[in-house]
Homo-oligomer: 321 residues x 2
């Protein structure tokens, strides 16, 4: 399914570069390779899964349009993938979502419907909209075509690492619901069996790390309180957790400050813009090397949709290297 | 020579991505494609020319090492290319060069020699060093192998534009001495003859624009006074100007503020870090569309080595889109 998704995505998604810097290598104590999905369309890997899922629909279903819930990157990925298929997209967004993300999603052509997190049930909002429209729901990670689409990142990593002479490495992935992590793990199982995937999560939102450690799905105590908004999903996906249990190594937990510091170092040394959640794997490679093994680490930078004040904070508060 | 340089650079330089954003397209009023050389090794296209020149030396000459004058991007490009060839590099830097650029050049393995711009002649400094060492001087733009190396950017542009369905476009290039501009123009003459190159320069440092307009080499009145430090060369190169005269369209002149604004918009929409001089062509596309023609513009972002305070200024002072 990942390979089939790659065919559907060919010429549609960007083959993002695998970057590196001798300065980051020195800081990490090993070679660090950075898969820059912040350079993907809409600024995150989410475009891959959205395109994969929409392009896999039957012609009749696709013509009716799609619907998604998201306050951020999935919203923009679905909006652009739908627009480029020439179909409609309804995105249900919480009314407290960042203004810029709402504006961007609308500007990409989606019909944005707001709901109040405190007083309304988003499923009911969606059901009401869908009474007459037969929109297909595109879930952010618990959808096989979405997982396969995110997995195309892993196919590219395998090929690009091989070109760089790397066949054995730990691959660190920022992890929310696990769509990207499980997709990459599936791709690497086939294409680069000497690469092991490690999910990376923010402190206090380490449901996947704890689920892998205990063998049972764990739920985060809080639903807010990290700047890593893109990856603070409450609990692993039903489809993604079994894949991660079978294929992934232990999770790595990072602090918000480590993510900001990684963002600042990536500004200095890679000239890319990363959002806090998207920097979790880079933070793990740079600041938790004691939990890693081997001479090469590949990190996925999953997104770059960060507000200017947050980025300025990263550049102001954290030193260079 | 450009094609031969591309063979020597294969697997050594990055094939940087060609990025775009519907938001920037709307702002510019045409499609804008961004060749992100800020993602090249050492953060600018200069690595290409440096590698090309060093790899073209005879084995005996190369073994003696190289020498270069530069306060910035050329210094880092030569330092890394020399280090990766396993040879020594002496870089003569003015003592008022940014501390970070001096530190980076040293960290990349070069022997940095400082001189005082006010009281010392850099050629004399270099001659003294070279009395006993037989180092080869790598000029920043008036060197055929350097021009050919920078031209590999143009080969990639031709291929990537073709993949995107674009065969006719104006190609805007930030222009200092003209190495990158003339190299790209040569590559496109052969590979994409329907593409015309336009050099882009900062106000007050538009020597190439005026030289093209008058048919005679012009000199800038000032040597300092723009934040676009990477492209304020006093006059066009002896080798580069005839190439630009034969192949380039009229220059486009942009203000420092337009460069900062373009940097801020690239942060928002492309998630890349651009230095002021590296943003000159993007600024031309976004703010001087009245001087351009056609439905597609390709802009080269030539570098991303910007200090944090300058980048914060761009993000703080200029609005989004």
């Amino acid at each position: 399914m990942v390979r089939a998704a790659a065919e559907r995505l060919h010429g549609k998604a960007r083959r993002t570069p695998l970057l590196s810097s001798p300065f980051l290598d020195e800081l990490a104590g090993r070679r660090v390779w950075v898969k820059a999905e912040c350079l993907q369309h809409t600024g995150s890997f989410k475009f891959r899964g959205a395109w994969s899922a929409i392009s896999a629909l039957s012609k009749a279903d696709r013509a009716c349009g799609v619907i998604a819930f998201s306050s951020g990157n999935h919203a923009q990925g679905v909006a652009l993938a739908a627009a480029r298929h020439g179909i409609g997209a309804v995105i249900i967004m919480p009314s407290d979502a960042p203004v810029i993300k709402i504006a961007n999603t609308r500007a990409l052509g989606a019909e944005v419907v707001m709901y109040d997190r405190a007083t309304e049930d988003r499923d009911a909002v969606a059901a009401k909209i869908n009474e007459t429209r037969n929109l297909t729901l595109i879930k952010p990670f618990d959808n096989r075509f979405v997982i396969a689409g995110q997995g195309t990142t892993g196919l590219e990593i395998a090929g690009q690492a091989r070109e760089a002479g790397v066949t054995k490495a730990e691959v660190l992935v920022p992890c929310g619901g696990g769509g990207l992590t499980s997709g990459i793990a599936l791709a690497l199982e086939a294409e680069a069996p000497d690469m092991g995937v490690r999910p990376c999560e923010p402190e206090g939102f380490d449901d996947v790390t704890r689920s892998l450690a205990t063998g049972q799905p764990q739920v985060n105590e809080r639903t807010t309180g990290s700047i890593c908004d893109a990856i603070i999903t409450p609990t692993p996906g039903l489809l993604t957790l079994p894949i991660m249990q079978r294929l992934c190594g232990a999770g790595v937990v990072v602090s918000d400050d480590e993510c900001l510091h990684a963002m600042a170092l990536a500004f200095d040394r890679l000239r890319i813009v990363i959002e806090p959640g998207g920097a979790a794997a880079l933070a793990a490679a740079l600041f938790h090397g004691d939990q890693l093994t081997g001479t090469d680490t590949i990190v996925v930078v999953s997104g770059g949709n960060v507000d200017r004040p947050m980025f300025i904070k990263a550049l102001t508060d954290f030193r260079g290297a």
